[in-house]
């Protein structure tokens, strides 16, 4: 039961993009451990603002 709930939570976090920051932190620590990390606020601003310049279509 607990495992099922954890799986649902994982899926929702991944699908909604809420987990993106965690992936960024993991990746940043792995590749550039010596450089400063963006805060969640900075990261989310960059992530959303990128869509202003790279629009993606959704379908009919």
């Amino acid at each position: 039961m607990r495992r099922a709930l954890a799986a649902v939570r994982w899926y929702f976090r991944e699908l909604s993009g809420e987990a993106e920051y965690d992936h960024y932190v993991d990746r940043h620590r792995r590749l550039h451990p010596d450089q400063p990390l963006m805060t969640r606020r900075q990261f989310e601003h960059c992530r959303t603002d990128r869509r202003d310049e790279h629009p993606t279509a959704s379908c009919c």
Binding site: Y11, Y21, H23, T48, D52, P55, A57, S58, C60
Partner: protein, 731 residues
């Protein structure tokens, strides 16, 4: 790559010595697949052979699911292994170019969700509802066989080819593989289909909200709700998408309930808008929504509409299975044979295949399959789940929309879907018009049906959304709430469709603007800069006015906007599918896989036949109900004589019909010419490739060995579990 017959595949044939757990035919799997095949065959038999008796919708669901399962298990696997030759030792662009932004290896289960949310919108809900005019059988057969042999194949193959080319777009692939002419034609096709698509979708919303204060209020409230969510996510709790969406959905449900209160209050008149007023509102909204920063309106709306989309489609599937409603429509109606239906004109061939695009074969998907998805896929073999699988899901949505339309009394269906010009504006005139079509609904029943969902009228509520909403409210209220919740469910369904149509209008305007900026930027540099505000406003305005023009002509057209514009939308969408399939076939031939070229070649020939026949009839038919120019001539002649022909009411209406028919006819001809150019160009390239002695240079990115371990399908096989465990993965 060679042009000779390909050497035998690196792994031995699966039936003999395949590795344990993968593709071996054991007695258990033979038994399961035999059972699936038998269930599907029985369901198809019931659907095809019953005449005159009531059929339960469950048979449709069984026929669809069994066919999908067999197609996914056998045909999709055959395409992946033999035709595309997916290679899981080869690193995908997500792995090679991983930058944490757009190139990012993403879990297949997440990616199939993203891809499905991106491809499935209002299309699979609207087309099948209109096609119900032909009966349930033609639509069902095209949705199911179309997706298996054409739609899902296109999505998967384009996804694969784009992935092998680092996520190139369809337009770029057309230019690289077919040539400049094909590339430019593809670009024009994409832009024009976008404009027609946005106009038709906006028209669906206008028809759903016109003179409905409840619906208009609820939808209007989504704007402040989205702004609030945007502020919350930006300032208060950055990145907390789930809690923001939960708040948003709560407010959304409140807005639906509050719509009922507003309808009863003195505010009702404020929110009772004519179609023309709603059109102006939508055009103004479309402009501002597309120039505001994404975080304010689009991003929160996206979260809401994705949640609603997936949630409501899930509910509908469960509802259909629990309620198990009976179909009221005939299997094949007389309109299918004679082509004189009121919803859209023309006979079964080719118009059923034009009306139902999304859900069976949709060219638009090739833009998503060559957009963000190929940059995120972890393993080549996952194209089967993400490309083919997600399209099967969309097809199932279309089947459910068809069910929702076919469980309505035919009399009610035609009273809602025939153009206002045919039905008149009262329940009495509508009842008489429906009787003329050969169906019955009394004025009292028509008023009662409207009262049940608390709408002023249901007469001529064309566009598909109100019909679908009535069908959904039947299904939902028979599961939860009974008759007392019918009005709520109706407006819930309207909200659900309008919400994501408006999101598509916003996102689509941005994409159209981006293409326009990109193209014009080649001529005059500043306009190509996406951050230069005046350029942004000007190009946004051009795009909004372009779809706004078609929307306005659709709303005011005496002949009915959906009746006139929907075939154009279908033709444009299938034209784009022809471009995508031509690109895919060309790549197969150029890479020495001539013997497998039929996999995309046969759907291409079918699609081209359908699209060109439909265009031919729309341009050259001398029946004014079908041919745009015949229609133009009929009304222009009458206008010269100073006569007014029904359904036009005055000379201005007559002039509007003449102008609209001319524009629509020119567009239909233009689309057909584009298809012919692309296909002819592709055929020439294929001919040269077959005649060439030397193998043609490949356009694929070079091979790099993959380090990622990930399963191919939704559930890992035993062998994949061992591989994952060895790689230290916990999932």
């Amino acid at each position: 790559m060679t042009t000779t017959t390909p050497a035998s595949p690196p792994t031995p044939p699966p039936t003999t010595t395949a590795p344990a757990g993968r593709g071996r035919l054991n007695p258990r799997s033979i038994a399961i697949w035999t059972a699936v095949a038998v269930a599907g065959a029985i369901a198809w038999g019931v659907l095809a052979l019953s005449r005159g008796e009531e059929i339960n919708a469950i048979w449709l669901v069984v026929a669809a699911l069994a066919s999908y399962a067999i197609a996914y298990r056998f045909y999709a696997r055959f395409i992946a292994r033999k035709v595309l030759k997916v290679d899981d030792t080869r690193a995908t662009p997500a792995e090679r170019l991983d930058n944490g932004i757009d190139y990012q290896p993403t879990d297949r289960r997440i990616l199939v969700g993203h891809h499905f949310a991106a491809i499935a919108g209002a299309g699979p809900l609207v087309g099948p509802v209109l096609a119900a005019q032909m009966g349930y059988l033609p639509g069902t057969m095209w949705i199911i066989f179309g997706v298996i042999f054409a739609g899902a194949v296109q999505d998967m193959v384009i996804l694969f080819f784009s992935m092998r080319r680092n996520g190139k777009s369809l337009g770029q692939m057309a230019r690289d593989e077919i040539g400049t002419v094909g590339g430019i034609a593809a670009l024009i096709a994409v832009f024009s289909i976008m404009i027609i698509l946005l106009a038709v979708l906006a028209l669906v919303v206008v028809n759903a909200l016109a003179r409905s204060p409840w619906g208009t209020f609820s939808i209007a409230m989504t704007i402040p709700i989205a702004l609030l969510m945007g502020f919350y996510l930006r300032v208060l709790r950055p990145g907390r998408v789930i809690e923001t969406t939960a708040i948003g959905v709560g407010l959304l449900l409140l807005a639906i309930v509050a719509g009922g209160w507003v309808q009863e209050s003195s505010l009702a008149d404020t929110f009772t808008l004519s179609p023309e007023a709603l059109t102006i509102c939508l055009i103004v909204y479309g402009f501002f929504a597309s120039v505001l920063p994404v975080w304010m309106l689009l991003a929160p709306r996206d979260y809401l509409s994705t949640f609603m989309k997936v949630g409501v489609i899930g509910l509908l599937a469960v509802g259909v299975i629990i309620a198990a409603p009976a179909l009221q429509t005939e299997a094949i109606t007389d309109f299918a044979r004679e082509g004189n239906g009121p919803v859209f004109s023309g006979a079964l061939f080719p118009f059923v295949f034009i009306t139902i695009a999304c859900g069976a074969l949709s060219g638009f998907h090739s833009l998503i399959s060559s957009g963000t998805t190929p940059k995120m896929i972890q393993k080549e073999s996952q194209v089967r789940l993400v490309g083919y699988g997600a399209m099967l899901m969309e097809s199932f949505v279309a089947v459910m929309a068809l069910i929702a339309a076919c469980i309505l009394e035919p009399g009610l269906y035609y009273a809602m879907n025939a153009p206002a010009g045919v039905l008149g504006s009262t329940v009495e005139s509508a009842s008489a018009a429906v009787a003329n079509l050969g169906f019955t609904i009394s004025p009292q029943d028509l008023s009662a049906a409207a009262a049940e969902v608390e709408e002023q009228t249901l007469v001529a509520r064309t566009g598909g959304a109100p019909t679908l909403a009535i069908g959904m409210s039947e299904i939902f209220s028979s599961v939860i709430g009974g008759a007392s919740l019918k009005a709520f469910w109706y407006h819930f369904a309207i909200m659900f469709e309008a919400l994501f149509i408006l999101t598509t209008v916003d996102a689509g305007t941005r994409v159209g603007r981006f293409m326009l900026q990109d193209t014009l930027g080649n001529i005059w540099k500043p306009i190509g800069r996406v951050s230069w505000k005046p350029g942004l406003w000007a190009t946004s305005a051009v795009v909004v006015l372009a779809w706004g023009y078609f929307l306005y002509t659709g709303v005011t057209n005496p002949l009915g906007g959906i009746n006139q514009l929907f075939p154009l939308f279908g033709i444009a969408n299938q034209l784009l599918a022809a471009v995508a399939l031509a690109v895919a076939t060309t790549i197969l031939v150029k890479s020495g896989r001539l013997k497998w070229a039929w996999v995309t070649g046969v759907p291409l020939v079918w699609d081209a036949t359908v699209t060109l026949t439909a265009s031919w009839q729309k341009v050259f038919s001398d029946n004014p109900a079908i041919g745009f120019f015949a229609q133009r001539e009929r009304f222009a002649d009458a206008l010269d004589r100073g006569e007014v022909l029904a359904p036009a009411k005055n000379l201005d209406d007559m002039r509007a019909v003449v102008t609209n028919s001319t524009v629509d006819g020119v567009l239909a001809a233009f689309f057909a010419i584009l298809v012919i150019i692309v296909i002819a160009n592709a055929a020439w390239v294929c001919y040269k490739a077959i005649r060439a002695r030397e193998p043609l240079p490949t356009t694929e990115a070079p091979y790099v060995k993959s380090q990622i371990v990930a399963p191919a399908g939704l559930f890992p096989t035993a062998e994949e579990k061992r591989e994952l465990a060895a790689a230290g993965d916990r999932t």
